[in-house]
């Protein structure tokens, strides 16, 4: 029975795979619980695939999942989760910037009764302007929108209980918002400070061109976090705004009619505005109803809270 599954997405990390495996193995031998290391090859184009095969052949703890092409980090993690068998799942980056020696810290925190424990890179070893500043800004934004208060949502080193992983909906590029995704599944989230090392081998896959996508995903998540069970409340608010606008336009129109101060063209335009806003309001209400329908038909499982608080090692 595997207890701990360590899931690591690998994309062009030929120089890091062997040291990563060695460090993880050393730490896991110390912990002494049955473990497996799942390396997900997300369509690497360097020598990673063969090195992965060699590592898997040499150590029975290692399992390699090869994806048909590069599907991105969310998909790679989801593939690793699908294959993982442990009751606790730990994720980290394949670039050796996370230190496997921190895994015991995460496990201890899980034992306190949390469902998700996130690493906090208190002393980041990255370039200030291109990595740390954008990361800090993104973190502030994500925290304030999703309401999940963490110092470092972007840290890949995290530990989860299986129940959360099984419920978590990870797709697209939502790996950036895993704490928020776990919050949607009612997880209790904690963080612990972890070590962080500068990158030794390979290239960083980080870039800043994704701001637009991040903002759109955040918009989605903020809606889902607040209104997942009742989207009508959200669309209803927009509808009310339209209705208020329409009523205001109607008021101006009636005032002009009473005072006979408006010309015919002006009244026509005001009337059109009233109709437009009321029609839009109606449409938003309808959208909200469709949203309700989607939610009602989509997920028939009972919303639950993880109640099992046995220690992670029990």
């Amino acid at each position: 029975m595997i207890e701990l599954s360590i899931v690591v997405p690998i994309y062009n990390e030929e120089g890091n795979i062997r040291p990563l495996h060695a460090r993880v193995a050393a730490v896991m031998e110390q912990i002494g619980r049955p473990w497996e290391l799942i390396l997900v090859d997300d369509g690497s184009r360097d020598r990673s695939p063969e090195i992965l095969e060699q590592v898997a052949a040499a150590d029975a703890h290692v399992r390699v999942v090869r994806l048909r092409r590069n599907f991105g980090q969310s998909a790679a993690l989801a593939a690793g989760f699908q294959v993982a068998r442990g009751r606790i799942i730990i994720t980290m980056d394949g670039d050796l910037q996370n230190d496997p020696a921190d895994i015991p810290l995460l496990l201890r925190k899980l034992d306190e009764g949390y469902d998700v424990v996130s690493g906090w890179r208190r002393h980041r070893k990255d370039k200030l302007i291109i990595r740390k500043v954008p990361s800090w800004l993104a973190n502030r934004l994500i925290c304030s929108v999703t309401g999940v208060k963490l110092h470092d949502t972007g840290c890949a080193l995290k530990a989860y209980r299986r129940e959360i992983i099984d419920r978590m909906r990870l797709y697209g590029e939502l790996h950036r918002f895993i704490p928020a995704l776990s919050r949607i599944e009612e997880a209790r989230i904690a963080e612990v400070p972890v070590r962080h090392h500068p990158r030794v081998s390979g290239k960083s896959k980080y870039n800043m061109t994704r701001t637009y996508k991040v903002i759109m995903d955040l918009l989605t998540l903020s809606l889902l976090l607040k209104y997942e069970r009742n989207p009508l409340h959200f669309f209803g608010r927009v509808a009310v705004l339209c209705g208020v606008g329409g009523a205001a336009a109607a008021g101006v129109m009636i005032a002009k009619l009473v005072r006979e101060s408006g010309d015919a063209a002006g009244l026509n335009i005001l009337a059109s505005l009233v109709f437009l806003l009321f029609a839009a309001g109606m449409q938003f209400i309808l959208l909200g109803l469709v949203g309700k329908l989607i939610v009602a038909l989509g997920d028939r499982s009972v919303p639950f809270r993880v109640v099992s608080r046995r220690g992670a090692g029990a």
Binding site: R63, R68, F71, I269, L287, G291, G298
Partner: protein
Amino acid sequence: MSVMLQTQREPVELESLKREARTRVSIVVVLSDSAREIGEVVAGLRHLAEGLGVPYEVLFVDDGSHDGTFDRLAVEIADWPQARAARLRARFGEAAALAAALQLSRGELIIYQTVRVRPNPRDLRRLLERLESGYDMVIGWRFPRRDSLLNRTISRAFNWMVSRLTGIRLHDINSGVFAARREVLESIQFYGDLNSFLPVMAERQGFKVTEEQIEQMPGWFRQSRYPKEYLQRALDIITVIFLTRYSKKPLHFLGFLGAIFSLAGLGISGYLFFYRLFGFGAIAGRPLLLLGVLLLVIGIQMISIGLLGEMIIFTHAREIREYSIEKLIGQADGTLP
């Protein structure tokens, strides 16, 4: 996709139609109203199939013919033990016929053709050889193409457009002839007319797709294109962009459009607001006011529909698997939980 099936004799359970023996190659032929050429098609395929030298089966799927195709077919294949024929209860279209063929066939490799294309059986063998050299899907490229000038021109434009939009490098995307590994077809959801885009979908899943020139048999070919179909093509292109690029992220697409509309509306409304505020004149009579508000409303609605799309995806996200695993190495090799 549920398809009503009817076999040569009595309606039979689907399971009993499946071959139990290990079959290497399934040759699937979709036909409708092809009574005239069926004899020639069967003879050509039989010659090809018997020369393959591997266990094979041939499956004819009659997509709701009205001209006695099925009866002719039953006679033609009566002395050919590897051949079977299935009839759909009505005309369901090529995607449905292909789905039915997948259900009924057993081969690891599938050679698919619609009779309307009339490929030279000799060339089908080359498609198979490309598969065996490591490709997952090989599309037949009708060259030279026997078709009307109009059809050829439109098809060229269509293929060029799809290439540009999806990045796939093929000359004849929906030629109606291809060979593919079974797993490719089973991992793609095809419905409606989207079977035209099978290679695009396959490549999205990470399968290796290529093409191979095929010759079309001389003589008869069907004039079956109507303006409606060309319109359908154009709409299909939009569908495929949406499905391949944004299917899991509708808001990335609609949010962009919505933002443009909203910003334009906001700009106009803001201008009018300050115009009124600083007393340059009344705005109630200005059509610009209507335009500004209209753009704003449309923009917000686009974003809202994008959000609704996101909700649909999120609600069903546990059923969606957007990656495709090539292999699993390590304990319990090859088996997925």
